[in-house]
Each structure stands twice: as structure tokens, then as C-alpha cells.
């Protein structure tokens, strides 16, 4: 009882900081990506930290994984390159099993860290076309930790709580801008209060293994949206006090005040529910199939709300030099995305196995229908369907004792994605963007090495 209590304490207490967009688009690890992600039923390497945390307790072996991943985009609008940046970085994973008496448990760690940055955001003008699912979402780090238990030999549970944050920023600027000598004569200072406020989302999974050759699995990943709230004040609303701001034109002081409230969503990952099965009709052959339901219909908007209050007292003699343009508030534009169901299939064949070495060959395919509607209005959240084919191979070296009581694996994968042409026809004949056709290709690959201790 004490043993079970200790293990449940771990299960209930552990949590996982995470940010998961690159995993959703390109997968994690090499074997699992080569199998098109159809691994929820039987994944057991450290990529289980993304695909199904129940798998980290599956084989009871300490596993350490490290590798490199990269993806190159060739996405175009009317055959002009959209300059969607490549993504590449390190992949690290860890499965640590343990026993207290007969009670089996494990904890795991999964990390994807881009080479050049932890994350990147790019905010474009509201009407400029952007590849909503590929432009910014992959440019984030991924970090997750999980715990799993195996109460009986055919049943495993795993899970954790994800951590992300949304931001609240209060910015104040005061002082003066010298219109005659803006660099030398301006006297400004600023005060920034910024909070990255914690949000949490769950990831839980289960694996059921009724026989040696048949596995089932299910996993749920929670929704999260990285919203951003900003309150900015420049100057003082009554144009007085220490926080006042304004312009100086010669000896003339022009008091001004601006208050801005803004709220938007910087990144969104929908609720996801995956069901998978794998079968081994012969020991050398594994076939996995899977369906993933992504609830994109709950995505509210990528275009946020902005409220502006601007006041300036322009003296008549400066009426020609300082003209106030019209400022309009904006409201969120519904994204009107739809749910999608993603089918996946992956096949693995082991043509050679001996006490010294084993070789695996893999292939997979999945299809993602686009959740984005046709962009007929002024805004352009571009997306297209995606067909992804993958190939992979692995070699396992098994005779490395006494230094390594286990095995050393090397896995390689290549993935090609085709985004077939999708025409966007505008309702308005004077739309500033006009009609266009979106399409493209994505090339991805990776190399992973894994040390496994028996």
C-alpha cells in the first residue's frame, strides 16, 4: 500500500512545462515520424512523451535519446515563395523506469529546442497573407515531463500537466520628443511591468495490450491558446503630473496622451484525441493505424481586439505640421475553422535480427485536411490540405557489453509533404490582396541515436 501510495504521489504531483506546436506539425523522434505518427498504441521510446505518455513505462528500460530534426518549406502564393522559414533543432528524450516491489512506474522527459531561438513571433499587417499553421507555430521550444504506471501487465496509464503562459503587460512612457532634434533632444523614459501568467493543460494516455501481437492506445492532449493582453499609456490623461508626455517644437510644448488596450491570440493548439491500434501478424512486421480528432472549430481568432484613446492639444500655429490621422478600434475576426480528423498508417519491417544487430525499415502516410475556410474576406489565414509520406530506417547494435549493458540505436527518417493547390477567391473585386492560389511542399528529416539500458 505504501508503495502504491508513493507511486500515485508521483503521478498526481508531476507536471510538465510545454509548448508543443512543432511536435504537432512534424512529430517527435525518428522512428515515430517515419511511421507517420501512428504509434499511439505501442510507442515505447522517449517520443512517447509526446505521442502517448503511457508508453514510457512499457518496456521497463532506461532510454536516452538525442538527435537532430529539420524541416524546409516551399510554400507559395501564386507561385511566389512565401518565405516561410525552415525549422531545425535538437531533440532529446528520456524514459526512466522504476519498481517499488512489483509496482512499475516511469517518468519521462521530451525536449525539442530550435537551433537559433527558443521561439519566434512575427506579427504582420492584418491583411497580409500568412501560412497560419506553418509560419510561426513551429518556432517554439517543446518541453514535457510525464509519469506513467503499469498496474497490470496489459494496461498502462500515463499523463502530466502542461504549463504555458499568457502575458499581461502594462507599459508607460513619459517625457518629451523634441521635433527639431529627436535623437539628441528627446527626453523619454519608460516603465514596463510584464507578467507571463501560468496556464495549464493536461495530456493523458492509455495503452492496452490484450495479446503479444495486438495493441490499442488512446491519448488526449489539452487545448491551449497563447493570448496576450496589453495596456499601454503614453503620457497622462489630464496632461499633468510626473507622467505627462508631449512634443516640443522649439519653445512650444504640445501635450499628448494615448491609451491602448489590446488582446490577441498568438498561438493556438486545439483539443486532440487520438485512437490507435497496432498489429504484428508476424514478429518481423508491425502495422499501425490511427485517427486523430483535432477540434479546430474552437479556435476563435488570430486577429485581436484593439482599443485606442488618443488626445492631443495642437496649438493653431502647428496645425499644418501636426495632423492627427483617424484611428479606429478593431474587433476580433472569427477564424471559422473546422474540426478535422487525421488518418495515419505506419508499417515497420525487420529484415534482419541477430544477437549482435537488428535492422528496421519503415514507411508511413497521413492526411490532414485543412481546418481553415476559404479566405474570401479581407483577412488571409492561409492553409491547404496536406499529404505526408515518410520513410525511415534504423539499426540497433546489441553487443556492446561490458561498457553498455543494453543497446545503441541509430534511426533516420525523411518526410515529404504535399500541399495541393487551393484557390482563394475574394468576395470584393477591390480586395487589396485579390485572388490567389496557395500550395507547396515541405521536406523534413532527422537523425536520432538512442541508448537503451537493460
Amino acid at each position: 500500500m505504501r508503495r502504491a501510495g508513493a507511486a500515485w504521489l508521483l503521478v498526481l504531483g508531476l507536471a510538465s512545462p510545454a509548448a508543443a506546436q512543432s511536435m504537432d506539425t512534424y512529430g517527435m523522434g525518428s522512428r515515430s515520424v517515419a511511421l507517420a505518427g501512428a504509434v499511439t498504441a505501442d510507442v515505447e521510446d522517449p517520443s512517447a512523451n509526446y505521442y502517448n505518455p503511457a508508453g514510457i513505462v512499457r518496456d521497463g528500460q532506461l532510454r536516452i535519446l538525442a538527435g537532430w530534426f529539420g524541416a524546409h518549406h516551399e510554400l507559395t502564393l501564386d507561385d511566389e515563395d512565401s518565405n516561410v522559414d525552415p525549422v531545425h533543432g535538437l531533440v532529446v528524450g528520456l524514459n526512466v523506469p522504476g519498481n517499488i516491489g512489483d509496482f512499475r512506474f516511469a517518468f519521462g522527459l521530451g525536449v525539442h529546442l530550435n537551433d537559433q531561438r527558443v521561439s519566434r513571433t512575427r506579427t504582420l499587417p492584418r491583411t497580409r497573407p500568412r501560412w497560419e499553421l506553418y509560419d510561426n507555430r513551429p518556432h517554439r521550444a517543446y518541453l514535457s515531463t510525464h509519469v506513467a504506471i503499469e498496474p497490470v501487465p496489459w494496461l498502462r496509464f500515463g499523463g502530466g500537466i502542461g504549463f504555458l503562459s499568457y502575458s499581461e503587460v502594462d507599459l508607460r512612457i513619459r517625457g518629451t520628443i523634441d521635433v527639431g532634434a529627436p535623437e539628441r533632444g528627446s527626453a523619454l523614459e519608460h516603465d514596463v511591468l510584464g507578467n507571463l501568467v501560468t496556464i495549464r493543460f493536461p495530456q493523458v494516455g492509455v495503452q492496452v495490450q490484450p495479446t503479444d501481437w495486438l495493441d490499442f492506445g488512446a491519448v488526449y492532449r489539452g487545448e491551449y491558446a497563447l493570448s496576450s493582453d496589453l495596456h499601454a499609456q503614453v503620457g497622462s490623461p489630464d496632461f499633468a503630473g510626473d507622467d505627462a508626455a508631449g512634443l516640443t517644437v522649439g519653445s512650444i510644448y504640445v501635450p499628448a496622451y494615448l491609451e491602448l488596450l489590446s488582446a490577441s491570440t498568438g498561438a493556438y493548439v486545439p483539443h486532440q484525441l487520438s485512437f490507435g491500434a497496432s498489429v504484428r501478424p508476424i514478429p518481423e512486421l508491425r502495422i499501425g493505424v490511427e485517427l486523430t480528432w483535432l477540434m479546430w472549430s474552437l479556435y476563435r481568432s488570430a486577429i485581436g481586439r484593439t482599443d485606442i484613446d488618443f488626445r492631443i492639444v495642437v496649438p493653431p500655429e502647428l496645425g499644418d505640421r501636426i495632423r492627427v490621422p483617424p484611428l479606429t478600434n478593431t474587433q476580433p475576426v472569427p477564424a471559422r475553422f473546422s474540426d478535422r480528423v487525421v488518418p495515419r498508417i505506419g508499417v515497420e519491417w525487420r529484415p534482419h535480427a541477430s544477437p549482435e544487430v537488428a535492422v528496421d525499415l519503415r514507411g508511413g502516410y497521413f492526411y490532414e485536411n485543412s481546418p481553415a475556410p476559404e479566405q474570401a474576406d479581407a483577412y488571409n489565414l492561409v492553409d491547404a490540405d496536406r499529404h505526408a509520406w515518410s520513410l525511415g530506417a534504423g539499426i540497433e547494435l546489441r553487443a556492446l557489453r561490458p561498457l553498455l549493458p543494453g543497446s545503441l540505436r541509430f534511426d533516420l527518417h525523411l518526410q515529404y509533404s504535399l500541399l495541393p493547390a487551393r484557390a482563394m477567391t475574394k468576395r470584393s473585386p477591390i480586395d487589396p490582396t485579390g485572388d490567389y492560389v496557395a500550395q507547396g511542399h515541405i521536406f523534413a528529416g532527422g537523425l536520432v541515436t538512442e541508448v537503451r539500458f537493460e
Binding site: A15, P17, R401, P405
Partner: protein, 431 residues
Amino acid sequence: MPRLASALATCALAWTLAPALAAASPQDLFGYGGRTSGLAMTGTSYAEGYEAVFANPAGLGPSRRRQLAIGLAGGGFDLRIDGERAPLTPPRGMTIGFALPIPFGDVLEDRITIGGAFFTPAEALMRGTVRFPAVPQWTVLDRAQVIAIILGLGVDLHGLVDGLHVGVGVSALAQLFGELDVRLDETNAFSSIVELQLVASYAPTAGINYRADAWGLGLSYRHESLSRLDLSVRARDLPIDVPVLNVGGLVQYDPPTVVLEGYWRPIPDLMVVLNVTQRIWDFYPGPQVPTTDMGRNAPAPELSSYPSPRVAVEGMVRDERFELALRGGYAFEPSPAPPARLAPRRTASGEPIATDLVPYRLLDNHRHVLTAGAGITIHVGAAGERLVIDAFGQLHVLQDRTHEIGRADAGAPMVTSGVILYGGWTARVEF
């Protein structure tokens, strides 16, 4: 002007779009883990397992069992200026740690252990604050709302020098760099392009310790860790020229720290610890940056370095299945900050301008820290598995300090004082 203001606002908004990993300060203020925090934030010589990842990664070297720990910690600030309470968000968060001996064989057997130490604040993963210089600000204490991510590797040099261990580690931080370009678009409407990058930065740690039967010594070094917010705003096509605006500053800072520590066990169940912690604050540049390239900066913070002495005692009572540990300690944390004062602004290149004196209310006090703790170890498995529960409490008493200026520009010199209570627990399984 509206475009300028909107540009600034958009720039700040852009910062908010980047989720952050960030700096590492709760453990610098209160220690890390359930045991060492009850022992006056010591541990460089004796800490083991996940606690060693922060205290001294060399302490990972002798680990032989896998270790997984969770815990909660939190506290409250009662800081006062002229007797009135100064609001400061109390730290609360979750501790997660692990230690993993790598089971190589042959010459690497019982040689290498890796570990991780994480602290996730309950409310804000990071709080970045850059205040106007005249605003009272607790720069040293207001650093407790930030996530900590630390990894370490320890090596046991048994066979070469029995009892000697070395270790290295790294704490991960994030810095934000960005640009905002504001211009008129083809429809003569305001538009902006924002690109922000959250870049990882790393602060290395290194340590060494030697453990004999009844005594041990440890030495560790943690490099400075800092997090900057650095955004440039450029506005073009406006009816007036607007300077390039720099918004942000140094939002998180832990100074370089050297720790020397020893412990002695006069009897097997009693441990006495002596520790000297030297934080090198001399290089702290202050949180503010000039808002324009040629603008004036806030005064220099002029922080100084003083050693912090610490002493702690741990006693044990044991039987076959249980162990009970009682702990206590004291630390003196001298303030590195000068009193709030009138100080000269600086040019953008850092030269003081003697004719431009402004109030600079960077507040800090000497602290006397009393700690206490207890730990229960339960042997739960036939193979030596253990469940260990540690709890601790800390009382930080801020020594009264009279500053050179008052809270208001015309007021009498202000007096700062206060109390901090902090406590927590951890539970870990060793298997």
C-alpha cells in the same frame, strides 16, 4: 505622435506574444529543495541528488539510486517603507527534481549521474519589471517570480581519488530581442511589422567536493544569469521625425556566485555545516536602459559585494525502517545596495552627469535568516527503495535601514524594514 505611441504599444504587445523560459532567482533567495533550504541555504559540500543540481553539481557524483522529487514552496513578504506595507507579490511554486545515475559498465560503472532541478511559479512563469528610477523598487528581493530550469552532471572519481567528485551544470534563461517597424501602407493607413525572437542563454555552474568519513569540503561557482528585454521601435513616413525607441531593460539578474563550504560529523548522526557565499554584485548594470540612443540613462546602481556567512546543524535519529532528521541554521545576507539617494543620471555611454541629479530609490536591507526543517525517511522496498519527505521554514528579518531621501522628493529620509516568511516541502522517491 499617435503613430509613435501606437508603435510603442505594438512593440510591447509584440513582447507579450513570446512565451518565455526565463531567469533563475527563487533558489538564489531561498535555496532549492527540502533539505538544504532548512539548513540555511547551504549544501555545496553535502547536497546529494536533485538538490545538488543547484547547490553543487559535483554532489550528483556519488548518487547510486534514481531519484524523483516533487514539492511545493511559498511564502509571504511583509516589507515596509516608513511603516507602511510595500506590496510585493509573494513567491509560490512547485519544485520538480530528478537524479539519474547512468548504468554504464566497465570503467564507467558508478561514475556518471545526470540531474535536473525545476521550479515553476504558481502565478507567473516570469515577471519582468523595469521601473522609473524614482519609483521605490526592491531590486534584490523582487526576483522570486521566475521559472527555473537547471541541468547538471556529476562525476565520481572513485578509483582515482576516492571521495572526490566534480560536476558541471547549466541554467537556462531566455532573452527577448525584437524589432518593430512602423510605416504607412499602400492605403495610407498605419501598419507595423513585428519580429521577435526569444533566444536561449545559458549560465554555467561548476563545482567540486571531497567527502571523507566524517568531514567534507565543497567549492562551487555559478556564473551570472540574466534576462534582457530589448526591443527597437522604428517609425517611418511620419510627419515628424521620431527617434529609435529602445523599450525594455534588464528584467532578471543573478550575480556570479562563489561558495565555499565544509561539514563535519563529530558523531555519525550529527552534521555541522559552515558556509561562505560570495555574490559578486559589482557588475550589475541596473535594470533601466535609455529610451533613445542618445537619451539619458538612470543612475548607476553601484551595488557592492559582501560575503554571506552561514551555519547549519542537522541531527538524525534512526531505526531499521525510519530515519528522522531535524535541521536548523542561520545566514546573514548583507545588502549589496547603497541607500536610496539622489544620484546622477548617466549618458548613454555610462558617464555620470553631475548636474542631473535624480532620486534613485533602489531599496534593499541586510537580512538575518533563520531556518528550520525536518525530514522523514521511510524504507519501503526490499531493494533499498526509500520515500523521503522533507519540510522547511525560513524567517528573513530585514534590518531597519534609513535612506538618504524620502518616499516623496520633499519628504524626510525613509526607513525600510520588513519580514519574509518562506516554507515548503518535498517528497522524493529513491529507487
